[in-house]
């Protein structure tokens, strides 16, 4: 995963540029430009369609918690959506990152070779399950069994406000959505971490073992520092999916417009789920307001990625 400085033509000896080189160069430049154009077009579309709803909103778009874009005067805001989106995604990362790293370490360093291959295959298969399946499974299979855990958290860890549950209802919560999201992003994190750990130079591993390190010490001193940047970027890719996941969350959550820090209680809503739930019946201003919320999600995702890039860039100085 360590990024190498791109090789420029000047560094290759020989000045004559062949036709094939030119064509290939054109293709790669074209591909790069297309990505930028697509991103630009999405941003422009969101901004263009969102503008009408900004101008007639009678509430503060950023702090209002209710969503009545089609009433007169329109009144809507993203506070509850932003809260739910971030909480569900962070909670998912809290579970998925340690488990994902653990799985990939097990596959890379502990598992017998045959088991490792099968496990890696199974985890990659998890990524191919459609999200509606995760949603329905979460709703019908996982949720009935999560009540006990949520109740235990509330009873014994209730001093921590986020686990407190005053309603004695433990279903359709951000907690359950977070667990399902964690399972959904696990393959992304695990697969990339595995590739990163594979890149650790064999000499580093052998050197640490030769110095008398146990396997755990080898992982702690040679593997994890080397793979840190890659693992962070794996986590960020996973976070991107968790932030944008739509239908699984829409099926599970109780979808209340409320900022409730008790995450085991029914409720919560996310940007993407709200768009899916409201789009079909929205009036003209409602559509515009939903796109405005999509614009916010777009900005949040972009900034998360930017932060991740900067972390990786800074870490690189230490690892290389």
């Amino acid at each position: 995963m360590s990024q190498q400085a791109p090789i420029r033509e000047s560094s290759i000896s020989g000045s004559s540029v062949r036709r094939g080189d030119q064509i290939f160069r054109g293709i790669t430049v074209g591909s790069g430009v297309i990505i930028l154009l697509v991103m630009g077009a999405i941003a422009a579309f969101l901004l263009w369609k969102a503008l009408p709803s900004f101008s007639n909103n009678s509430a503060n778009f950023l702090t209002e918690k209710v969503w009545f874009p089609d009433q007169n005067p329109p009144k809507f805001g993203i506070a509850a959506l932003a809260f739910g989106t971030v909480v569900a995604a962070l909670f998912a990362m809290l579970i998925a990152v340690p488990v994902g790293i653990g799985t990939s370490l097990f596959i890379s360093f502990y598992a017998p070779r045959r088991l490792a291959g099968a496990m890696a295959f199974l985890i990659d298969l998890l990524a191919a399950v459609p999200s509606i399946i995760f949603g329905l499974w979460g709703l019908q299979v996982l949720m009935p069994h999560m009540g006990g855990i949520a109740k235990w958290l509330s009873d014994y860890l209730g001093v921590i406000p986020i686990f407190k549950n005053d309603q004695e209802l433990y279903t359709k919560s951000l907690f359950i959505a977070g667990v399902v999201l964690a399972i959904m992003v696990l393959p992304t994190i695990s697969a990339i971490s595995r590739e990163v750990f594979k890149q650790v130079p064999r000499s580093h591993l052998e050197a640490s073992l030769a110095l008398g390190a146990t396997r755990w010490e080898m992982i702690r001193m040679a593997v994890l520092p080397f793979g840190r940047a890659g693992v962070i970027s794996a986590a960020m890719l996973g976070l991107g999916r968790a932030l944008g996941e739509t239908i699984a969350v829409a099926v599970i959550l109780s979808a209340l417009f409320d900022v409730n820090i008790h995450i085991t209680e029914p409720g919560g809503n996310t940007f993407a789920a709200n768009i899916a739930l409201k789009w079909n019946e929205a009036g003209p201003n409602g559509l515009s307001a939903l796109i405005a919320s999509g614009l916010v999600l777009f900005i949040i995702t972009l900034s998360v990625n930017a932060v991740a890039r900067s972390i990786i860039a800074r870490r690189k100085e230490f690892t290389e």
Partner: protein, 360 residues
């Protein structure tokens, strides 16, 4: 792999047979043209998902008798359906509510100066399905329903519920209330009923989005039905067809004239008693949600077909007219009850047929 000569011959014969079968099939409509209508073409429509299953059955039946016609009804929601219609992408829209004034303006532009009309076509009953062990029948009135769905009544053995259900042993359990988390005409009509009949007990805004606090939201009537059937001591509102398909029990409603069971027949009486508020052939309805007839189930919704009285392209107009004439026929309306819908009956049906006859 080796192909034997006989296998090749068999394939050749089979494909010849298939080809001739195709040929005879495509020839048959013109041969039996006198029996059918001779209509050809395709018709696009979209909108309300509440009438999706009724539309599906009607389209199948209509296409069987008029094999030259293809009809496509996309159940993408009432709001999206009206948008599609106003953008001239479809020839009629299915909607859970009649056109609002601002939508009507856009619709008459789409009708090239003609009027867009609302034609009530498919009725529905909104049932309060419950899942309480040991309770087989339950009666609620507007006040207790509003109390349950606003969070004021939290226990099944609340005195207000017990007073309506003499002889029924109600548990001391907490009520788990389910509502829709997505925007829907079902929520709109249910809250309209609560606001009309128990405004003191339900102090929240109505509309397509559920806004009262508490309870649990689920996506779609199927989501609510699944929630109720899997959660003990629960109650939720949903279209009658989901009560039937999930094998749930629905509460009887006492609107003041005695408890009325949630059945298609009882709901049809409320819809037949509705008054027309539209003018001319626009049959937008005013439903009397306070109806206190001892045999009329009051929590109903009516879905409309919205199309142009005049102003559609001639080919589209003929198809819309033929299809809606069929859907308003006794055969088509009579088939509704079996799938959990509510037919349009009586004088209203006569008006519906007159409005369709005027489409040009």
């Amino acid at each position: 792999m080796k192909f034997t000569r006989s296998a090749v011959a068999a394939v050749a014969i089979a494909s010849t047979l298939a080809l001739s079968a195709c040929a005879s099939e495509s020839a048959s409509p013109s041969a039996s043209g006198s029996a059918g209508s001779g209509l050809t073409g395709s018709l696009k429509a979209s909108g309300s998902s509440a009438q999706k299953n009724a539309m599906q059955e009607w389209i199948n039946a209509f296409q069987t008798t008029n094999s030259g016609v293809t009809i496509d009804y996309q159940a993408n929601g009432s709001g999206a359906g009206i948008q599609d219609f106003n953008n001239s992408q479809t020839s009629f829209a299915g909607s859970d509510s009649a056109l609002k004034p601002e939508e009507a303006t856009a619709a008459s532009t789409r009708c090239a100066g003609g009027t867009a009309i609302n034609i009530p076509m498919v009725g529905g009953a909104i049932a309060l399905a419950f899942n309480v062990a040991g309770v087989d029948s339950l009666t609620l009135n507007p006040k207790t329903a509003a109390g349950i769905f606003s969070g004021a009544i939290t226990k099944w053995n609340d005195p207000a519920i017990a007073a309506l259900n003499a002889g029924v042993t109600l548990p001391a359990a907490t009520i788990a209330q389910f509502h829709r988390s997505d925007s829907s005409g079902t929520t709109d009509n249910f809250t309209k009923w609560l606001l009309a009949t128990a405004p003191d007990a339900f102090a929240f805004a109505g509309g397509k989005d559920w806004v009262a606090p508490g309870g649990q939201g689920a996506k779609g009537s199927d989501g609510v039905a699944a929630g109720v059937s899997s959660t003990p001591n629960s109650i939720g509102y949903m279209e009658l067809s989901f009560v039937m398909s999930k094998g749930l029990k629905a509460a009887s409603i006492d609107n003041g004239g005695g408890a009325v069971e949630a059945t298609s027949d009882n709901a049809a009486k409320t819809i037949a008693a509705a008054t027309v508020k539209g003018t001319g052939n626009d049959l937008a309805l005013n439903i009397d949600r306070k109806i206190a007839d001892g045999s009329a189930y009051p929590v109903v919704l009516v879905t409309y077909e919205i199309t142009c009285e005049t102003g559609l392209a001639a080919a589209d107009s003929a198809l819309v007219k033929a299809f809606l004439t069929y859907t308003a026929s006794d055969a088509a309306q009579g088939a509704l009850a079996a799938s959990g819908y509510v037919p349009i009956t009586g004088d209203l049906l006569t008006k519906v047929r007159a409005a369709i006859a005027a489409i040009a």
